[in-house]
Structures are given as C-alpha cells and as structure tokens.
C-alpha cells in the first residue's frame, strides 16, 4: 500500500534525472542515432546483457531462500566486524547535521538508482560496444559474488547492533523507504555492501570511458563517493562492509575489462 507511492516517487525522480543527464552528457545527436541503431547494438552485446538479465532474475527469485539458507550454513560475523572496527560508524554519524542526513538519504535511494541506470543508457548510445559489455559483466560479477557472500556470512549493520549510539537515520527520517528496501534486501545482507561495490564499479568503468564522457566520470565519482559515505553515515553498513565492497568492485571491473578486451 505504502510501497506503491514510494516506488512511483523513486521512478519519477529517476526518469527526470536520466533525461536531463542524457541530453546534457550524451547529446541529442548521439541519442537520435542510438534510437535507430539500438536493436543492432543490443545484438552486438547480447551475451553479457543476457547474462546480466538472468543474474538479476535469479537474484530476485532466490533472495528470500538465501536468507534462510544463510541462517543454516552461514557464519554470523557481526561480533567479529564490530570487534575489528569498533565505534567508527557512531563516530562518523556523530559528525552529521540534518543537511547531511538529507543529502545522504537522497544519495542512498535516488542517487544509487541513477548511478546504476545512467551508464547503461550512456554506453548504449556509443557505437563502441565495449563499455556496455564491460559494465554488464562487472554488474553480473557483483551480484553473483555478493550472493555467495550473503550465503556464507550473516551480518547485521551498525543500526541493528548499536541501538544506543547509531541512529537508523534513513528509516527514522524516511520510514517509507523501508518498505522499498526491505523488498530488495534482507537486513542481514550487509557484508559486503552492494551499494558500495556497484557504485565503485560504476566509477571504475566511468574511469575507463573518461575520454568519451569526461563529465560523467566526474559526476559518477562525486555521486558514487557520496553513496559510499551514505551507507555508513545512515548506519546501514560497517566500514568493513564498505572495504569488502571496494574489493568486490575491483574484481568486477577487472573481470569486465578482460571480457570487453578479450
């Protein structure tokens, strides 16, 4: 019930952001050509795109069972993570202001969707199919390895362990977002942070295409880093999850490059 308006809002904001960026960064001319050549271009990158679609479909189906299986076979590493990094997240959150909270909340929800979807549009508009292939492979690697980790490790984020010192900022200020995110993610899937790994992946691929889209590289870096900061500031992820996410992104981008070049 509450899900529908939230979803509608997210989609609307995303469409506006995407259209504006597409016009500004990709250019009208390129978009026109893309419209006519799109079927042919998609055929060229058919394999990695199909793989990505299949991975996303499987991901949406097994999400629920994965959480169940993780309780059977996974290790609960929450105490270990807290033992390693201690009170970093409470400290980071204590630096915040209401303005930060708003910025990070919007980055976490809207910025994330934007950063993930825009490069797909931008790279589809290129004659060179390699960036799109690299991106599709890198996304798939993220989801597959992420899923493996979610089976092997059960972990709760700081907001679920440190109720006294970490506020669950996103959900206390925007409780409606929880209806959206709880459909997408279980609260035990925090190690590694997929928000981090996918944002870092986008930054990595944007770096590889910086000559075609220099503006996008700058935007992706700024928004991506904000999202990564937001995962910790909002009390959703540990710094450890973020580090693991960056490592995962590194693996994913390398795999993407190898595929696109090979």
């Amino acid at each position: 019930m509450t899900l529908v308006p939230v979803l509608a809002k997210v989609v609307a904001v995303k469409v506006v952001l995407l259209s504006v960026s597409a016009l500004a960064l990709v250019g009208v001319g390129r978009l026109r050509t893309t419209a006519t050549e799109l079927p042919q271009r998609l055929r060229n990158v058919g394999v990695p795109i199909t793989v990505l679609v299949v991975v996303l479909l499987i991901n949406s189906v097994v999400r629920e069972p994965v959480t169940e299986v993780a309780w059977l076979v996974g290790i609960n590493i929450t105490p270990l993570i807290y033992g390693i990094e201690g009170d970093f997240v409470p400290w980071f959150q204590s630096l915040g202001t209401p303005a930060f909270t708003t910025l990070f909340s919007y980055a976490y929800v809207y910025g994330y969707v934007y950063v993930l979807v825009f490069p797909v549009v931008a790279y589809a508009a290129l004659e060179d199919s390699r960036p799109l292939e690299e991106l599709a492979v890198a996304y798939s690697v993220n989801y597959v390895l992420g899923l493996v980790c979610y089976v092997a490790f059960v972990a709760y984020g700081p907001r679920n362990l440190l109720g006294d010192s970490v506020e669950s900022l996103l959900y206390t200020h925007h409780p409606e977002f929880q209806f959206l995110t709880s459909r997408v993610n279980s609260n035990t899937n925090v190690f590694p942070s997929l928000h981090t790994s996918l944002s870092a992946t986008v930054i990595g691929v944007a770096y590889d295409t910086r000559e075609v889209y220099p503006g996008w590289f700058a935007i992706a870096t700024a928004v991506g880093i904000t999202i990564i900061g937001a995962t910790m500031y909002l009390g959703i992820h540990w710094a450890t999850d973020v580090l693991a996410g960056v490592v995962l992104a590194g693996i994913a981008v390398l795999a993407g490059r190898r595929y696109a070049e090979g």
Binding site: D164, E176, T188
Partner: protein, 591 residues
Amino acid sequence: MTRGGAAPQDLSRRAVLATAAATLAGAGGCVKRTRNVMARDPPEQVTLRILTVPVDANPYPSRIARELASHLQACGVDASVEPMEPEALYRRVLLEHDFDVYVGQFPRSEWRDPDTLYALCHSMFGGEPGWQNPFGYTSMGLDDDLETQRTSSGRERRRAVTDLQAHLAEDQPFTPLAVPDALGTTRTDRFGGWHGNPMQPVVLLGLDRVGDTDTLSVVTTDGRVTGNRNPIAAEFRARGTIIDLLYDPLAREVDGVTKPWSAADWRLDGGDGQPVAEVTLRPDLRWHDGESLTAADVAFTYEFLADTSLGNADSPIPASRYRGRISLVDEVAVADERTVRIAFGDASPVVAMRALTVPILPQHVWRDRTEPATIAGVETNRTMTEALAWNNPRPVGSGPLAFDRGVPGESLRLSRFDDHFLRGDPEGLPDRLVGGPEYGELRLSVAGSDDAAVELVAAGGADATVSPLGAAVVPRIGRESALSLVSDPSRAFYHVGYNTRTAPLSNTRFRRIVARLLDRATLVDDVFDGYARPAASPLAGTPWYEADAFPDEMGLGSSFVRPDGTLDTASSKAAFVEAGYRYDDGRLLVE
C-alpha cells in the same frame, strides 16, 4: 578491540616454549619438571557470547546486551554481542540449548498466575525444547516450591510462591530486569472500541466498525507468522495473537476473567486434591474446513500436546508450547459427542483451570503427523515429530477468523468464519463480542521496523500495530493527530538467561555477580525511556510479589552500577575474586 585471539596464541606459545625447553634440557629431572608444568592446562580467559535480536525486531534487548557486554569486558571477560533473527535465536536457545547468555523477553504478556513459572523453572523440563527451563537449571528446593504452589491454596500457596521467588533470586538461573509497557498505536476513523491493547485477540474481535471498510488492517514487525503458522512450534511464536484468532481454546480470558469460550459450560469437582472437570462444548462447533468439532477432538488435543508421537516414539515428544498447562492434565475421556471429562493431577482447582486455555487442534489434521520428522525423506532426528517441524501453511482451526492467504515475510489475510459461535447468540460473553467480528477480513502487513510500522498506520495503510513498539517512536505517534498511543503493562518481562549447563555459568556465584552488573533502574530510564518498571522477580507487579522476601544481595538496590550509571569495576572484580576466580593481566580466567 579483539581480545578473542589472545588466548589461543598464548596457549600455543606456551606449548612451543615448553617443548623447546624440554628438548634443550634433555636430562631426566628437567623433563619431570616440564611434565609437572604441562599437567596443568593453562587457564583461559572467560569468553561469553551474548545472543539477542536486532534493533529492527526489538530495540531494547540489544541495548541491554551491549551494556552487559561492556560491563563484563570491564571485569576482564571476553564478552561480545551477537544479534540474530528471533526465529534463529529461539531455535538456538530453546531447541538446541546452544548458547552462553541471551537477552530476551518472556513470550506471554497476559499472565498473573505463578503456576506459569512451573514449566519455565522446573528441573524436570531441563532437557526439553521450548520455553521449558531453557537454562538447564536444577534445584530440588525450587521444584518443591513449584509443586506446593500447584496443589495448595491460601496462606500455604502464598508462602510457597514467596519461597520460590527467593530461590530464583538466590540462584539466578535467569535475571529478570524489567516488566515493560506494551506500546502500540491505533487509529479510530475506521474502527472504534479499542478496549485494551490491540495485541490481544479479544480486543481485535470486539471492535466497532465506524467507517465503510470491511477490512481490518494491522501491522507487525514480527513476520514469523507469515511463514509458519504452527501453534505448537515455540521458536516461531511470540504472543501468538494471530494463532489465537485462528485457534479457539475451551476457555479464554475476557476482561481479566477466564470465561467459557468453545466450552458452553463446565462443572469442576475439587475431588481430594485431584480435580475433575466435566466440560460441555457449545452446540454445532465446526472447523474451518467444515468438519464438526467434537469431544473427540478435545481429548485428542490433550493427548497430542503431551506426546506429539501419540505413543509411537520410545519416550513422549511433547509440543514445545503449552507444556506447563498440559502437565496439569492426567487423563481426558470422551463422555459423549459434546462432553469430555478432564482428570487433573495434583493441583488446586484454580491452577487446574489454566489447562482449559490451550488451543484445540483438529484430530483429522494432526493425527497423520506423528511420525519422526524427515528431511527429503530421510529421518534425521527421532526426538522431533513431523507435527513440530510442520509449517502448517493452511491452518485449520475453529477460531472466529479463518486463514485465507499469506505471502512469507510480507502479509497475511484472514477472513471471518461465519460458522463460528460468536456469529450466533452465545451466552456468557460481553455484548461487544456477540455477533462479531464486525469486519469480513483481517489483513496483517509486516513492517521492517517500529518506525515503518507507525508510518504505515499514520498513512492509513493499517488501523493498529500488533507487535510491541519501542519507546523511541512515542514522539512520532504524538506528532500524528490521527494516531492514539496505547500503553498497558505487559507481563512479558525482559531478562538475561544463562545456560547453566556449562562453566562458568554453571556456577551460581558467577551468575550472581553477572546479575549485579546491570542496574534495573538505570535500564528503565536509559533503555526503556521510563516505559517499564524494574523487576527483580518475574512476578513483580503482581500481588504475589513480596519485596521483603529477597536476599539483600540480590534485591533491587544490589547492583555494582553506581547511581550515575558507571560500573564500580573494583568491587565487581573483587566479587569475582571472592567467588574463587583469578585474574591474569586484567583477564578473568576460567580453569
């Protein structure tokens, strides 16, 4: 931060040094000396893992657990907190008994009779799964008190109950902390007549419809019932609000009095300490699948709850819920289609009546689930029956609401059962229940946290919350004009439970010190924001509580925590030393 790694490293270093020394020395005398040293295992630091639920499930326990862990660390214990889903936590604690310490809540909020503690504390339940003595605690003295309160009345019973509270305080198999206020929120534009807390099934059944909608929508933060609806599986049940709407008992508590429910009436014969009840069912009772509910179903229920294998297993495999109440019943015989004779064991009539409040189960559904549970056809555990492992996806009960459909983790839909006796003109029940419920459908949604649940009610997506909320959302409820705050005292006390089966928690002295590392008044202020009362006994807040009966050391003011909230580390460490424990380099050691 990590202290866990230190002990094993230390151990191996000692072993290596010892071996090296022995090799170098070679000579006989030195070897003998080395053997002397090696013969004593080096003591290790005490390690305790405190299990609890995540903040999303309940904001209080993890804060208590963190406080306890930090005070234990200050005393040189390697303590850490591990949050787990309620289902996983209670599986570990109640079924597998594989834990050190947990911080949790007693699952029943509406109880006053001290006999409720019988199953929780009696030694004979130490090996059983469920809310039956999960602590593995044994005490002949306490067992005697529990038996005496069951069979006596008046001053004698009172003395036994006072005694048993003193016993619990002395031995601390678990440390009661606070009795909370059950907080909830309701909106009144579609339904009125919220007489009490919406977590109580009887309150939901007695609502007045004031709007046009035919659907009552409620929201919970505990989604277990969307995936499992087994009334006898302890790890999936909290208060059992939904289960109690689906399954009817013979008697239900209405407005604080135990009233005939599926039973039309009963006659209780006190006998000579072994009462017998002749219970007559209401006419024309039906199960949700259309079958008739008869006296045979009632007799079956009592036999089945006591042994879900119905005699097929080597020893009985009881249901993991309702154990205390079932242990009151000796034998149930069918007198005719609508009458059963329930013979109780040694019990006073007041206590015996508790047995009538268990849900009645349909014989034709559960009779076939008495075999040992299997995984993919392979028998893995002969002490678990299919009935206990079953998720009961389409429950068949006889309650006022019948199951319609459910999406695991998201929602549940129940519809009014029009063959229910409430739809007729039942006698002996308050007017608001007669003819009810006034809605055709009840929808339960699952929210990810207290904030999301309140938001859903505020946005009009639900009429009430049916799982207890944390105090942190009270201001949010206050800001929304459409919402009213519901707050009533709950008996679901928060406590720290210890696994007394293993060292060092098997040592009463050790537990008594751990119990004093928390201060109840501080917790009530800091963690519960005042929405709770300190409790040194599970019966605190009932007329059975007697503050004078407590040993001074274990009473309410006996904590090592100073009034300003800081721990008196020196005194608590001294207490460990006095109890026979040793320190090495600030670490508390266990042999």
